[in-house]
């Protein structure tokens, strides 16, 4: 039996708080943790499959043109080599998140350097890799490739409908204080620890793919469409995912290549991307150029607000980094212009990388807000407090629960913020300039359709099942806690099964929607089970208390096995976003506070303290929510100081495609991270009163660091990442 809910209006019942088990929100360990840290949780490439052939992708060494010949003979005589496949079913790019259909498939039409063009199969991985490097490929090269992402001559189109309200230029001219600044950010890579990897098995009817993916219900369609199979003929298995961060939202080229090869060779095939390929042929976050125009009146209240960005992507890709997403509603200003220009370039696909839009949009916006605060001479916290609009500045709709003020206050208190004197260059410890900075955090709340099945067994334990994924975020834990709370069970008595398309289609993990969406489907299924139990007990669902395996109503208390009397109860919850998504501006909020040290000699920056206060609706598990915030802040440090995809403008190849040269923060770069979770219930967020948390911790974090650097040494770096060379150019003589 399926119970559906289309969320058209807020759910004010707040049922979870009425439950009795007391496990929701608790900082419980993740049930999948022990298997992961002891190495017994199998990741995609680790399934023992007999008779497997190994495949390695061959990637293009030109940035635009056509593969005119692939000389298979050049490798077929090498030891162990089985085949070279360059098939029209293979995919040249990864699918964008939620595509549900095949991505671009013409692998022989080269659109970017590093594009997969073939796969070499051999008996061992080493043989396949060697042969892939030896394969002779002939190209016809076009001479009109655009390989410099910042090339002003790149063909550009306006993305979506710009927002144009009032007269921004005039507001700027008449403002008491105005800031008009342009910042740049460079491309980012998700760099998940587990590379993209797949094992394909074909039995003539059904294709089974063990793969590392985030959104199975969609990936199933993408793979089926690529292979000309019916979705029912494709089974995806992805119970453990070693990080995705957006790069595994869509089916990626190695999965399709493994499938094509398995069908052709009639044996199982494994394809694992080399680390360089994870960098070069999945997804990048676009570089951005962002112009911020902020006009404020004498009281620091925004009258004009402009955020215009230029981002890039390959031809035919619809995705454009939604840089202005939070700018649409975070701040007031009746004169507004928000616009995104999309440049077409021949560089690897730009797509969703953790917090697409806000990750780089907020860090620039919040740096510009700091510039405004300095121009006014106002505590930047105060400037934020004065700029909280009453309603969505363009659409006029109300906000759902918004605890921004509480976050600003809680974060400032935890950090010990003193914003009274923002004069830069006041504090020096030995060689180091010390400064502090803050920023708002903001990320839109997304929800997505999801189904989950909950089975209450005759013994009084439960099973939650969905094709939902846990990409390291804690999904296993929180779904068990939701079911445990609703059904009055210890989460240890709830088995959560995920990551298999034979289970009901969940929301997938992406856009921070997993918990609120699939969690709501679990909630719905549990409500249906509760109704059934209430009926069995002769009461109503509202009157029923479930706790510690007992059903209680009035003075009756019955153990679940007795009440069930040998019968299991199975219900499927089906959650759909409805009109609610248009009725409210729903978002997660927070505030960052950072203290940095900038070396007066070398321009090296070290983050010394970093605090964040966040509100995300109901916290489902304090530990996993805190971890998500911390992870986001670490990404913020990388975005601020070190991470940068560097392309060679001569041919568009990525010069730093590995973890030695693409600098993600290491332990020593990350100080103690102080996370405060601000209590909140958002009835418009989901029936759980929860929103999303996976991305919030990045959205603005690098801005706080930028502002702290300025406060420390008086250098405003308008180009991220803020590497020592950029600071050095403006630091005073030591």
């Amino acid at each position: 039996m399926t119970r559906s809910l289309t969320m058209d209006r807020p759910d004010d019942r707040n049922r979870l708080d009425a439950m009795a088990q007391g496990v929701i929100g608790q900082p419980l360990d993740r049930p999948d943790g022990p298997a992961k840290v002891t190495g017994t949780a199998p990741y995609a490439a680790e399934y023992p499959v007999d008779g497997m052939a190994e495949g390695v992708l061959v990637t293009a060494t030109i940035s635009k043109g056509e593969v005119t010949a692939i000389d298979e003979q050049s490798v077929l005589s090498m030891p162990g080599v089985l085949a070279v496949i360059s098939d029209q079913r293979m995919t040249a790019r990864a699918a964008q998140g939620g595509a549900g259909e095949a991505p671009v498939q013409q692998v022989r039409q080269v659109q970017y350097y590093g594009q997969p063009i073939a796969v070499v199969l051999a008996e061992t991985f080493e043989q396949a890799r060697d042969a892939a490097k030896h394969l002779k490929v002939t190209y016809r090269e076009d001479d009109d490739a655009v390989t410099d992402p910042h090339d002003p001559a790149a063909p550009t189109e306006t993305y979506d409908e710009p927002i144009d309200q009032g007269n921004l230029a005039q507001a700027m001219a008449q403002a008491a204080y105005a800031v008009d600044v342009t910042y740049t950010t460079e491309g980012h890579n998700s760099a998940p620890m587990e590379p993209h990897a797949s094992i394909a098995e074909w039995d003539g009817q059904t294709l089974t793919l063990h793969s590392s993916l985030q959104m199975l219900a969609y990936n199933q369609k993408e793979l089926a469409d690529s292979l000309d199979l019916a979705p029912e003929q494709v089974r995806l298995i992805s119970p453990y995912v070693g990080g995705g961060f957006g790069s595994k939202l869509g089916i990626s080229p190695e999965g399709v290549a493994a499938s094509v090869a398995a069908m052709q060779l009639n044996r199982p095939v494994r394809v694992v991307m080399l680390r360089q390929q994870v960098f070069q042929c999945v997804m990048r976050r676009s570089e951005t150029t962002q112009r911020l125009r902020l006009a404020a009146d004498a009281n620091g209240r925004l009258t004009g607000f402009g955020h215009e960005a230029r981002v890039s992507n390959l031809p035919e890709e619809e995705f454009a980094e939604p840089v202005t997403q939070a700018s649409e509603f975070l701040y007031p200003g009746e004169h507004r212009r928000l616009a995104i220009e999309l440049a077409r370039v021949n560089l690897m696909t730009a797509g969703s990388v953790r917090a697409p839009g806000e990750a780089v949009g907020m860090q620039v916006l919040e740096s510009a807000m700091d510039e405004l605060a300095n121009a006014i001479g106002m505590d930047p916290v105060e400037l934020r407090l004065r700029n909280i609009p009453d309603q969505h500045p363009s659409e006029g709709i109300p906000y759902s629960s918004r605890k921004l003020v509480e976050c600003l206050k809680a974060g400032a208190e935890r950090f010990g913020w003193d914003g009274s004197d923002r004069t830069p260059g006041q504090r020096r410890e030995g060689e180091w300039w010390i400064g502090t900075g803050m920023a708002n955090a903001c990320r839109v709340h997304n929800i997505n359709e999801a189904q989950a099945r909950v089975t209450l067994s005759p013994d009084g334990t439960a099973i939650v099942a969905s094709d939902m994924t846990d990409i390291g975020t804690g999904t296993y834990a929180i779904l068990g806690q939701i079911a445990g709370e609703m059904l009055g069970l210890d989460p240890a008595d709830v088995l959560v099964q995920l990551g298999d398309t034979t289970l009901p289609p969940g929301s997938g993990s992406g856009g921070s929607w997993g918990a609120a969406s699939t969690g709501s489907a679990v909630f719905e299924a549990c409500e249906a089970i509760r109704e059934h139990l209430a009926e069995q007990l002769g009461t109503t669902e509202e009157e029923l208390t479930l706790k510690d395996g007992f059903a209680i109503a009035g003075n009756r208390r019955v153990a679940l096995p007795d009440l069930l009397a040998g019968a299991e109860v199975e219900r499927t919850g089906h959650f759909k976003p409805g009109e609610i998504t248009e009725a409210f501006a729903a978002a997660m909020y927070g505030a960052f506070f950072a203290e940095v040290a900038v070396n007066a000699y070398t321009g090296e920056t070290r983050v010394r303290r970093f605090a964040g206060a966040f509100s995300m609706g109901r916290v489902l598990n304090e530990k996993t929510a805190t971890s998500q915030c911390m992870g986001g802040m670490v990404w913020g440090i990388g975005s601020a100081l070190t991470e940068e995809l560097t392309f060679d403008a001569r041919d568009g190849h990525l010069v730093n495609p590995d973890l030695a040269e693409y600098h993600i923060p290491v332990n020593l770069d990350v100080p103690h991270l102080d996370v405060v979770l601000v209590d909140e219930r958002d009835p418009a967020g989901s029936p759980l009163q929860a929103k999303g948390v996976g991305e919030l911790g990045i959205c603005g974090a690098a801005g706080a660091i930028n502002n702290a650097i300025y406060h420390a040494c008086g250098v405003r770096v308008r180009s991220f990442p803020m590497t020592p060379d950029k600071l050095l150019a403006e630091l005073p003589d030591p």
């Binding site: 060689e431 070398t602 321009g603 090296e604 040269e661 600098h663 020593l668 050095l728």
Partner: protein, 327 residues
């Protein structure tokens, strides 16, 4: 990875015989294996040095130390005698790579680690060092980490390591066994070479030669500093590094031994700078003079221009600290 033959020699002499054209010695493997996976290195024979008696840190007759080629970076940096008498060496080693890598990395392998030039690492790009005659991808390309001193038209790569920079400041010696069983000694300062028009040669090792040890002179005393500037706090190669051994003679500088990392194809050592400093009273004016001299012929490639002021500033920081001045 290309198929290769793996060989385990019985002794040093045997290793010398096995090594020859197309063969490579392997120690910790932390650099060589990475390069083999990428097919930047394609040896047909790997001669495993690990069972040879090349370990141990022993005092020498003249009061110095002899560090066996197979002594790991971790063991060397943890040795109490090294820490006490050659702190610049311990610090330089600990400034490099990570715990895990240092546990595997050896003294000999570390000296011979190859450049981190992006184009050297990518076999689809031109590189005179990897494939002489193909050109240099870094000239006109991305060269933020490249050389500002001693580069040539055919190669602008740097020697990326830290340990050797300290060894250069300490004026250590490399002990090398020839294939014929005789041995020779080369000062660290002459071990690495400038690229000239043969950038494929990183150092003066001849085919078949094996490093057996590094020999440290008697302790130099003085203040010993290793200062490494990098993009992140750990696990990153130097943008610029300075190893300094400075002895004060009352209020004047008795002697200052200085070596610089990440500036050139070898740890950079400029005796003129040391001569300039010796016998002088420390002052910012003097330090700037030293920097002027050091950087007289420095030439940026565009992206790495910043290394010139960065070197000056880092040298200033190191000299101020080493001569007792406040930062």
């Amino acid at each position: 990875m290309r198929p290769f033959q793996y060989m385990r020699p019985d002794g040093l002499g045997h290793a010398g015989q096995l090594l020859g054209d197309g063969a490579r010695p392997i120690a910790g493997g932390t650099n060589l294996l990475d390069l083999m996976k990428l097919e930047v290195e394609v040896p047909d024979r790997l001669v495993d040095l690990n069972r040879l008696p090349l370990g141990g840190i022993e005092p020498t007759d003249n009061g110095g130390m002899r560090i066996g080629a197979l002594v790991t970076n971790s063991a060397c940096a943890a040795d109490p005698r090294i820490r006490r008498n050659y702190p610049v060496l311990a610090r330089a080693i600990l400034a490099g790579a990570t715990f895990q890598l240092r546990n595997m990395a050896t003294t000999g392998g570390n000296l011979c680690q190859r450049t981190r030039c992006y184009y050297f690492y990518n076999i689809d790009q031109p590189c005179n060092k990897r494939e002489p005659g193909t050109g240099c991808g870094a000239i006109g390309g991305h060269n933020r980490i490249h050389a500002i001193l001693g580069a040539s038209d055919s190669c602008i790569a740097t020697y990326p390591g830290d340990m050797a920079v300290a060894l250069s400041a300490l004026d250590a010696t490399v002990e090398i066994e020839r294939p014929d069983g005789t041995s020779r000694q080369v000062p660290v300062r002459e071990f690495h070479r400038l690229p000239g028009d043969t950038p494929q040669l990183d150092n003066v090792l001849e085919p078949g030669e094996v490093i057996t040890a590094v020999i440290l002179p008697p302790p130099a005393g003085g203040r010993q500093l290793y200062r490494k500037v990098r993009d992140r706090a750990s696990y990153a190669f130097a943008l610029v590094s300075v190893a300094a051994v400075v002895r004060m003679d009352g209020d004047t500088i008795g002697s200052a031994a200085l070596a610089f990392g990440a500036l050139a194809h070898k740890p950079w050592h400029d005796p003129r700078v040391e001569q300039l400093l010796a016998g002088q009273a420390p002052s910012d004016a003097l330090f700037h003079q030293a920097a002027d001299l050091l950087l007289q012929d420095a030439e940026g490639q565009g992206e790495n221009d910043f290394k010139i002021p960065l070197t000056r500033r880092t040298l200033l920081a190191v000299l101020r600290e080493a001569t007792g001045g406040a930062a």
